[in-house]
Symmetry: C2
Subunit: 228 residues, 2 copies
């Protein structure tokens, strides 16, 4: 099992630490604010009050033996860069750092952070994509120019079989799967319950309430969508 250390327990760090621990991972949580450490200690393997800039303290916690160390210190740009460099030096393989600006992100990549997260920017981009595709419920980029998308079928497809529609010949699109029941958000398990999903054959008949999971060229997907 992978061993994680999370340095800095603001919103991002604490949610990450809890989420990893909840899924059964071993998590060391570190913050120099005692209250932050107290708030999380029952949800993680080990919670320690320490200054993440204190190399001796980190080595005393065997930081170099962790598979993945996350640095999420908020506004402390210099601190996070220095700590990322130190972690790289002592051989930590996965160094995840939360950035607070583009320049910060670039500097972190330069000093060896393996994954730089800028939640406000990253979520803004994902959301812009989904807001702009009103009947593409979920947009998953696959290959430059190609995508796997979910979409409601254009009305001219209702009641027709896949064999009749000949989407591959007419549009170069492949229907990978069809959701025959509406997705819904389960607030308890915090998962998307996507209803029923089936892999259709040529005789499968498309209905109005179905959601198609289609793969193909972006241009072809757009052409198909314009039939709506």
């Amino acid at each position: 099992m992978k061993r994680f250390a999370v340095l800095g327990l603001g919103n991002f760090g604490s949610h990450l630490a809890r989420s990893l621990a909840q899924k059964g991972a071993e998590v060391l949580a570190v913050d120099n604010d005692e209250q932050a450490v107290l708030n999380i200690k029952d949800s993680v393997t080990q919670a320690v009050v320490a200054n993440a800039l204190d190399k001796k303290a980190l080595l005393a916690l065997d930081i170099d033996k962790f598979d993945c160390v996350t640095v999420s210190l908020g506004e402390k740009v210099d601190a996070s860069i220095l700590i990322a460099m130190f972690l790289k030096k002592v051989g930590v393989e996965e160094i995840l750092v939360k950035a607070i600006s583009e320049d910060h992100a670039e500097a972190l990549q330069n000093v060896g952070a393996t994954l730089v997260v800028f939640p406000e920017r990253d979520m803004a981009h994902k959301i812009a994509d989904s807001l702009l595709t009103p009947n593409l419920i979920d947009f998953i980029p696959v290959t430059e120019g190609q995508s796997i998308v979910e979409m409601k079928p254009p009305s001219e497809c209702f009641g027709k079989t896949l064999a009749e529609l000949m989407l591959r010949n007419r549009f170069g699109l492949q229907v990978l799967a069809v959701r025959t029941e509406e997705p819904s958000w389960d607030t308890i398990s915090r998962r998307m319950k996507s209803g029923a999903l089936i892999v259709p054959d040529g005789n499968f008949r498309i209905e109005e309430n179905h959601v198609l999971i289609i793969m193909g060229d972006n241009k072809n997907i757009e052409k198909f969508r314009k039939l709506t």
Copy 2:
């Protein structure tokens, strides 16, 4: 084309406004900080200095005629809740609000926000999922208990064809597609270039550098993964 208004131009709001405008949407950007408005005016359709709590000012901008209004005012919890209520009252269909805590998120949902975003929490959960699946490069939840995942093939698959491996019979898994070239991050277009993707038939031979896109029951995926 959908018309968007973004109230509050911090990191999230400004990235969202730019991202939407870049993709061709009509975007009105609003902030009461003149510098924030000046910084963005060349990247959006219209940028206005105004107090988002000023209902007259919003109505003068025809806020009720926008398809989607985003509220991202940072620490101003009360303000965002009041504005969300007002937007609902004047009939805006999509009200997206950035939350800064769980309680804030809940309150916003109660007053009618249609999409509540809490970037630090939402990204932390997504990242926790991907950190915990070391050879599942991308984990997309599909149906309760089922998933579409990307994974490196277990070594016993190398050099064998899909027909020989009989994954559907032995594991109940369907190989939807195979990446035959490594994904890489294009810093300019900011897209994942996923290399080449093909939809395999039974004669397709799996190689060590391939990435399989597999669909099936979570338990079966885990069984298959344990072969590694």
